[in-house]
Symmetry: C2
Subunit: 500 residues, 2 copies
Amino acid sequence: MPRTVEITDLLLREAQQSLLETSMALEDVAPVFEDLDNAGYWSVECWGGTAFNSCIRFLNEDPWERLRTYRRLLPKSRLQMLLRGQNLVEHRNFDDSIVSRFVEKAAQNGIDVFRILDALNDVRNLRASVEAVKKAGKHAQGSICYGPSPVHTITAFVDIAQRIREMGCDSICVHDVDGLLKPQAAYDLVKGIKQKCGSDTLVSVHTHSTTGVTMVSLMKAIEAGCDIVDSAISSLALGRGHNPTESVVAMLEGTGYESRLDIERLQRIKRHIAKVRPRYGELFHQPIGVETEIFQHQIPAAVILSMEYQLKGQGAPHLLDEVLGEIQNVRRDAGYPALAIPASEILGTQAMFNVLRGKYKVITSEFADLMLGYYGTPLGEKDPDVLAKAAIRANKPAISCRPADLLEPSWEPRRAEAVALGCNGSDEDILTYAMFPKTATKFFQTRAAGAKEISRELSEAKSGPEPAAPGSASNNAGPSRSYIISIRGEEHRVTVTPAQ
Amino acid sequence: MPRTVEITDLLLREAQQSLLETSMALEDVAPVFEDLDNAGYWSVECWGGTAFNSCIRFLNEDPWERLRTYRRLLPKSRLQMLLRGQNLVEHRNFDDSIVSRFVEKAAQNGIDVFRILDALNDVRNLRASVEAVKKAGKHAQGSICYGPSPVHTITAFVDIAQRIREMGCDSICVHDVDGLLKPQAAYDLVKGIKQKCGSDTLVSVHTHSTTGVTMVSLMKAIEAGCDIVDSAISSLALGRGHNPTESVVAMLEGTGYESRLDIERLQRIKRHIAKVRPRYGELFHQPIGVETEIFQHQIPAAVILSMEYQLKGQGAPHLLDEVLGEIQNVRRDAGYPALAIPASEILGTQAMFNVLRGKYKVITSEFADLMLGYYGTPLGEKDPDVLAKAAIRANKPAISCRPADLLEPSWEPRRAEAVALGCNGSDEDILTYAMFPKTATKFFQTRAAGAKEISRELSEAKSGPEPAAPGSASNNAGPSRSYIISIRGEEHRVTVTPAQ
């Protein structure tokens, strides 16, 4: 009897976040709900992460209403969300009164599985969420943020997993945001977790296809006992997205493992998404290809792009390689936080200042907070000199407690503000406001107009340059095209370059 | 000590053939020769297959001269070619006098490794080439064309491998043109070959990334003892091409296996190819994605596209699925030839006639030849009724001998014709003529003009529609773009739609 390997589908949330410039409109995904709900997935990830913000910012749509719609139209599915621990769906810490209320409301509105992670792997940042999830009677999946470093050995990761398990999590997720998880590491890590936490501990592996090796990592994780893997339908997969679901199903055939997925339903989903995808922009104008360079510096391409842009603004685009090298030093000085958002951005900016202005001559307030423990405690030792400089810069002491312990309960003041600013009085609205006060305030005013017909709008607006391969000469200006055009009977040869 | 896994590079030949509309101009690949030659590949595939024809047809370039250039500029590398057995670099049989001369000249001009295959897996079609390769003192790599069928079991493939090995081949290649080789099959097949042919038998695996599972298949093949795998540099990989070399290197890290490749050289090659790739068209306007549908019917997308086109011409585009189903019947009737060119095309056309005109009411002459054994003998039993119809249609008997045994030696007549038509009198020119009489004749007349500056030409001509996802509304007409252009000081708004 083959062992069943379960699949978590990412189409409704992270596949869109990884590959498209925005979340897809409900009208474009609604036609696949029946197939999604019956295909045989373990869970359907559909909420949390950047999708929450994207709803109010780009779609003029209530994220809670979107969740209720998913709940209604996917009645058989376990709905899953990504929760950034104490950061919830933002990149800053909230106090426990907000965290517990957010989890309670997410559960009430339809979430069954909470995947909870902290970029620094400081498990104290998971505790309040995990407790709230358990209180709501839902599934708490505690995550390890994967990113190797001299201190982030397999043993260290397995220890973190054990602490997450002991906290009461129902499953453990190995969470790899950049495709850094190589096959052997995947095997060793899952094997180690199963050995240390017990073979009945559900283990899930989340990775990206960025580097071209992670299909193999999924296979190795499965061989080591992994129970659940994440994938996305092939027409919204690959590149900086995820491994294609149909390929995962095919990969298992004839092995000692099998999925429960209905391939005909998958193919219908594939075809529909292929049809609507062109209505959306592509993030980064992604080339067909892989980025194995990330193994060297672990910096996500989005962060590199943003650094390139900033360096250009400083008239120093030639310094990019030096900055990428300096990030490694800054990361070491900071005790090796995982290079996930927000740490990756904080380290990147600090490295840029170090290269442009001299080593720690300028210290950003975010980097000072990171050094001083206000995001949590990373695994490695921090450099004492840099720590001292950060304390002077920020004019506050280093802390060793759980950062959220320093925060006052803010539910009541946030509620009062949100009501004054025109929210509908629901706890959900107040939480939306607590997350994103500015965007939420604007949304409360425009909500009555209804969700944007985003796909039509994008379809009409989309007239940018075609995607070009990386390093292509045409990357900057867009490709020139020559046409022979006829105006009042006279022929002209015209070369046009999109103005961007 | 990790075991070394060797890599064959496909950049110079099949990666181009799989992904681009033409072969790349020498000027565009020349800058990577030094890195290619020193990166640590087992061999560099650079000649044969469709590249030969492409040289004279599109580049006005002597393929033999191209080979000598590769030899000169890649002095340290084993140069490898794809030879289609008795078909050489065409899709029809040649007599042994042509076959032996072709191999002799290819060896003299620089080929070290001859990868030899027959679409029907009729090993008799490999014999003359293998003997000629051994006579020239070069490496003969005999290939199995992989494509599962009720008769094409792992055991059957292993038997074929054994016969190839006994013929005197120096290595065995598992050759999978469409990404059909799933991980477990890859493992079982390589394991079986090693057991049956001896563990010292070099085994190579060639596959495509079409279905998204074959990176895993390479890993499994390696675990089973595979010595050499094929890959292409990442900036000319994936889609219907091959698995990316840099990812293969990363995949092995920390396992019991390692490559000898120099990652810095690979990254330089990657960057250069990424820069020049946009000068060439993309075959099929490939979507980012995978095609797992091919597991159901085994028909290469190029053949499906051509059938779609033909069905449209017949006013019956809705019959495509029926034709794809009928191909399976026709394949069974023909004794399960592998669905590689030319068999895939022959079966596809016959299936189309069966659907449009009634079962075997019309029989193409190629299908009759295939049924009657004039391409060789497939593994399965043929349907006796269809065989009888084919014999009536073709008005000739079925044969069971090696097809080339029926061919008269044609070296002398071909030589006389080629000389009369303006070839330079070299054996190489005569062979070019023997392969492609029409194209060669034209080439002999235009050769003096020199190779086309293809990349500049393509760059200027390239004004087609941007690649769109499959099923996109913009697939047919290409996107319209509006521009404000100024001619002699007067502004005009112009909307242009590429004419295709």
